[in-house]
């Protein structure tokens, strides 16, 4: 897979986008920490992290006994974080618009 395809495919999944959003709020996180804040198992998180790592969107590093993951540095990180925050903002707005449209 070429690098652009890997990024495209990695970002197509909503759980992986959520993983990126969480990582953007922390310096680094472990798979266990991510599983604690997302409704998926640690094993599933590890798989998603592997895909994101493959796409060079995140990088894992061993710190003591832990494998900690962080977003790769800008410029890629900046573009991805823009798309994630704007995307999440529209999800919220469109959900509120749905509520507004059904209110009497």
């Amino acid at each position: 897979m070429d690098p652009a395809d890997a990024v495209f495919s990695a970002l197509a999944d909503p759980t992986r986008r959520e993983v990126i959003r969480r990582l953007s709020e922390h310096a680094s996180m472990t798979a266990t920490e991510l599983a604690g804040v997302l409704p998926v198992t640690r094993q599933a998180i590890a798989k998603h992290l592997a895909e994101l790592e493959q796409a060079s969107l995140v990088v894992g590093e061993r710190v003591g006994r832990e494998n900690r993951f962080r977003l790769t540095p800008a410029p890629m990180g900046e573009a991805v974080s823009w798309m994630n925050s704007v995307g999440a903002q529209w999800d919220d707005r469109l959900s509120r618009l749905g509520e507004h449209l059904q209110s009497p």
């Binding site: 197509a12 410029p75 823009w82 919220d92 749905g98 449209l101 059904q102």
Partner: protein, 146 residues
Amino acid sequence: MHPRARVEKRIVYPVGREEVWAALTRAEELSRWFGMEVVSFDLRPAGRIVFRDAGGASRRALIEEVEAPCRFAFRWMPAPAGGSARDSGSRVEFVLEEVAEGTALTVVETPSLAVGELIPMVGPVVIGSSIPDPIGAPPRIMALSR
């Protein structure tokens, strides 16, 4: 800017197109769901929208397209000094289509040059339901009771 660098969302609401159009283009309705209060709204090409965010700061947008009831687009104007400039300059476009289930609303936000110019480095990236989905999921439909 890369032509495909953008955020795109599509959602179907089980209501008529005029209702969705009104929710997008009437100040009092827009204020209810946009997340910012609409202070003034001059609905015409080159007209201005002034929002007030939760912190009381003004955010201004310049209307670029008004084609009732199917297209509406505006561009965020640079935030005043001290304000949040994170998405200043980005363009927001709404397209409303009549579909069997009601009205399909597509929102496309195209980043300002500062962010957009970074994206070609990794090729096309689109976030949203328009991504060719491997399992071919249909557009999300809101289940509204009516």
